[in-house]
Symmetry: C2
């Protein structure tokens, strides 16, 4: 009968509360139960809970004040680009198509310009990483998980090759998008996947060949293709909702 139940409790409390908040299970402005109660209800000590609360405060999701308690802050003050916050929003249970579209919109702003910069600034190592990732994508076409990983690797490598830390940071947003998309969006449509691979090939090689203009336009082409896929997915989700209603 060990009372003290292992490790990683703070992390898990952060995730639980983070997901609840992202899913609006606690609404903006709402006040959480007092520390002791919340700790009890989560089966952890007050210290562990407090550490979790501090982490969430650091991400802008909540604010604490003595006597008044712990309050959910307005959504537009959250650190939306925080990797954890992104992943909580991507929870397949509660993620909305708007979420994917918002991410896609910013991808369409950042990625073509990142590709353009990468074509100019990539070192030989950068290029090697990019091409290796493309190879993996091709190799693992049949294995959804590994294909997505390689896809993420490729986009990450392109952003990194822009040699701008702020641009590079978008890898988390893109990774979140790609993971969510692969879960929510798509059963593997053979023809779409082939086309997608080809588009990735074109970007990778424009960068490898220092063609900034084509890197830009190939990135745009790729994201247009993605957009179509999201819109279809959204459409099919709507159909589903109609059916279940």
């Amino acid at each position: 009968m060990k009372k003290t139940s292992g490790r990683g409790q703070v992390k898990s409390v952060v995730d639980i509360l983070g997901k609840r908040i992202a899913a609006a299970q606690y609404k903006e402005g709402e006040i959480l139960p007092i520390e002791q109660q919340l700790a009890d209800s989560l089966g952890v000590g007050r210290n562990a809970l407090r550490e979790a609360v501090k982490v969430l405060s650091g991400k802008g999701l909540i604010a604490t004040a003595p006597r008044s308690g712990t309050r959910i802050r307005p959504r537009d003050e959250w650190n939306m680009l925080d990797p954890d916050v992104l992943s909580w929003h991507a929870d397949p249970e509660t993620a909305t198509p708007e979420f994917l579209l918002a991410l896609l919109e910013i991808r369409r702003i950042i990625e073509p310009r990142a590709a353009e910069l990468a074509a100019v600034r990539a070192t030989r190592e950068d290029v090697a990483t990019i091409l290796a990732a493309y190879d993996d994508m091709q190799r693992y076409q049949e294995d959804p998980d590994r294909r997505v990983s390689a896809d993420i690797e490729l986009h990450t490598a392109i952003l990194a090759a822009s040699h701008n830390a702020y641009i590079s940071h978008f890898r988390y947003a893109i990774a979140t998008y790609l993971k969510a998309h692969s879960k929510i969006g798509q059963r593997s449509d053979r023809e779409k996947l082939r086309k997608d691979l080809e588009l990735h090939h074109d970007i990778a090689w424009s960068i490898a060949r220092c063609k900034a203009k084509s890197a830009y336009s190939n990135s745009v082409r790729m994201l247009n293709h993605g957009r179509l896929r999201v819109e279809e997915a959204e459409h099919s989700l709507a159909e589903e909702a109609k059916r279940s209603a």
Copy 2:
């Protein structure tokens, strides 16, 4: 001689450690002193320190492991777009011109497109906020602090009018840039400020008039003007360094 020194300790420990880490006072891969020592040296209890450490972990700056201690994570894994992380990097003591240039680079990618979207999507309230901010900028031309605040307000309002939470989140990066720029960059050069105001006027009004194309190009013009100013500042910093060497 109060041992228990008031409140807000966690916040202040987070800031102290955050700044040290951002300034590479602790280097990547380095291991921090053990909790008890570090807590003692900062004059706080171990719990307060632990809460601070958890916050910094949440922002990707450090990672903890039993037995091995608390280690500084590689820079490219930090949440660079976190408002706190941004502000720690903007510390005038240690901020580099590269920092400003990196931020300016991403501003040049995001803001014109945000302005374009704002021209299409802004509600009447959005437009009112944008124009009010512009008015303040004009009104407080002579008061550097208030002028910068109004400048930040204006850019924030434009991003908000894009109605995309991820784009809007950039307000922190822009605010950091503008604050740092006003501190580091510029004694107020009358002619530059007048030109700057004019450029802001043009953006605000293209958005108000739903002119997406001009909003885009006016945003580009404004940022080009900014770039010149950063490059001059960088140049003068280099001169200063030469003289002091």
